[in-house]
Symmetry: C2
Subunit: 354 residues, 2 copies
DNA sequence: ATAACTATTGCATACGCATGCAAAAAGCAG
DNA sequence: CTGCTTTTTGCATGCGTATGCAATAGTTAT
């Protein structure tokens, strides 16, 4: 005869209370850190809870406390290992304070709005955006609802959105300096998407340095932050009459695509024939298959600052948006020729211009 | 004078009700698909809701309906792009039915228990495990709570856990056949972790074919599914007196490490000096930097089946665990020598033995 | 026009937990 | 032992939504 284990409902505080001979509120207090319960009572309750396998219902708790301990993460481009790291870091760092991620992947290019509206309905405590964007309306809605938004690695004109980013301008300048001092003459920039201000800042730093060094022509193509689009961009770049010998990519992932196309399709040797530099310093950049020289953008630190901001915004909801820049550095590997006379990494912006 | 936008509480059904001149329950019904409301009333309500920006509180709804539409995903090894794909696929496919992922990353090697206990507290509708494991106690707890568990790409003896996996045995056999027919003599297998049954199945298929073909020695090392450990494993393999010329890796990600070590540290040419084959067919495997021959394991299909199972288990909670295998195929690229006489991919297991 | 239904609606309560408030208990000083 | 302060407890209610049940309005048949 088959024994049918009934799926009995999970025990509640009332069940524990009955068993421990106290009131439901006593049980609630026993599970609330700062609450007023006699030590003996608490232990009696915890013991009773243990014995029937009671676990607090966090949804109910969230409803009562108006704090869900859930953070919405809207993320696009999860194929890019940089964002995979962001997810991992955010998840682990949030877990330290008992919070968790409700995940919303935003199909490429699309705005995150429909997904995020649902996020708000879930009463998330905050909203982190990485490689995806919210509309103005949605932003206002969050503000009205008192849900702080933090963007990682995105810049928007919208006020009221906090942002954490890497050293984009400096990344472009340093990379330009590095390539210039290595003796390159023909430069190209593989941008992200057209409206990515992060990409624009990198480009700006790159061009600013080169122009003041006397380089006029700097070709720009768009890789849309994807492997495929970057491959196409690389093809157009390399098949031109006068192809570049130094390419700066707005992300490591796109740099991989460029290297692939350059070596496989154009038979070029990296870095002998062409130098390629990226941004992010994803783990793969260190793999010898790519051995990519890159400007780092530490996911762990970005996330740490993002959480800081969230905590501050929650503590003081009236507060203005916070913006924060996280330092990176040039990681010299083998995908780009090195300047002969050495290269100082952590140096004031102006110095290399002399 | 600064105007202080008060963070006013979000409107509720009662607010909408008052405005529309109906009862709260009417509002609730207006937002419940199958419910009984007059068309005119519903529209009046929807209009009122619209005008004050009402959004249902999904936590409250979940509490009342005992269905959260939240699926817990416990995932380890997010560095491995295969699992990044699993996350993405699961998130997108769940979103189609209005469900979302509550994410639990499990630090490497650790069991997922502490995290998952919290998951249960969040009243998740189901639990998906990828590259992480639950203890027996935890499993029982889920069963008692009526929360279905689906493992992706993991095999456990525990009864009651549903599982979805790729063709592991066949992967091993096909890869072995491919390498054998290409004329290799010295084989090695880079396993995942010691207790990964998936890795064992692949190994088993690999060895079964080779042994029946007369190959006795097949060296096995452990790469623990990480890039670093696989690199070390590769070093030990290649620095032996009589190193292998054909290496099968239990994952693409480890195969990348092997290729890196072989080419950079040992100066070997792939596939001239050594053939390397992986499993998964992650996007990177197609990049020309690796150009990896591999047995595919389609993340999209695995996830699709996992969701199917979840739905079935939820519909009929008494049901026994479901196990499901998803077909893959050998993707021939450039990291392994090819058999001269061609190679038929989709073929009955036995044929190549002749 | 009246009876017999059916489609809508509101009332009341439940979901599981947190918390202000007042009652009860315990501790303390005199 | 009495009066007062400090803990500890329980009661009652609220968080926002869903839903069984009974009441009401609306429809159709006779």
């Amino acid at each position: 005869m088959i024994k049918k284990e009934k799926t009995r409902r999970a025990p509640t505080e009332s069940d524990v209370a009955k068993l421990a001979g106290v009131s439901q509120s006593a049980v609630s207090r026993a599970f609330t850190p700062g609450a007023s319960v006699a030590k003996a009572t608490r232990e009696k309750i915890l013991h009773a809870a243990q014995s029937i396998g009671y676990q607090p219902n966090l949804l109910a708790r969230s409803l009562a406390t108006r704090r869900s301990n859930i953070i919405a993460l809207a993320i696009g481009n999860l194929e890019n290992p940089f964002y995979a790291m962001v997810v991992k870091e955010l998840s682990e760092q949030l877990a330290e304070t008992g919070r968790h991620i409700l995940l919303f992947t935003t199909p490429k290019g699309d705005e995150a709005d429909p997904a995020l509206e649902r996020a708000l309905s879930y009463q998330v405590d905050a909203l982190v955006m990485a490689a995806s964007m919210a509309s103005i309306e949605l932003t206002m809605q969050c503000q009205k609802a008192g849900v702080p938004i933090v963007q990682i690695n995105r810049e928007t004109k919208l006020p009221g959105i906090s942002t954490v980013w890497g050293e984009n301008q400096r990344a472009g300048e340093l990379v330009a300096a590095f390539l210039y001092k290595a003796g390159h003459k023909k430069y190209a920039f593989v941008a992200g998407t057209k409206n990515s201000s992060i990409s624009q800042m990198r480009q700006n730093g790159f061009e600013t340095y080169l122009k003041s060094a006397g380089i006029k022509k700097i070709k720009t193509v768009y890789g849309d932050y994807t492997f495929e689009a970057a491959s196409i961009a690389a093809r157009s770049l390399l098949s031109a009459k006068n192809p570049p010998d130094a390419i700066f990519c707005a992300s490591d992932y796109m740099a991989f695509a460029v290297i692939d196309v350059a070596t496989r399709e154009f038979g070029l040797n990296v870095p002998k024939d062409i130098s390629v530099i990226g941004v992010d310093n994803v783990p793969e950049a260190g793999h010898s298959a790519y051995d990519l020289t890159t400007f780092s953008q530490p996911a762990g630190s970005l996330v740490e600052e993002a959480i800081n901001i969230i905590d501050k915004m929650i503590a003081d909801p009236g507060r203005r948006a916070i913006r924060c820049e996280v330092a990176g550095e040039l990681i010299v590997r083998g995908s780009a020729k090195e300047p002969k006379d050495g290269f100082i990494n952590n140096v004031d912006n102006k110095i290399w211009l002399e």
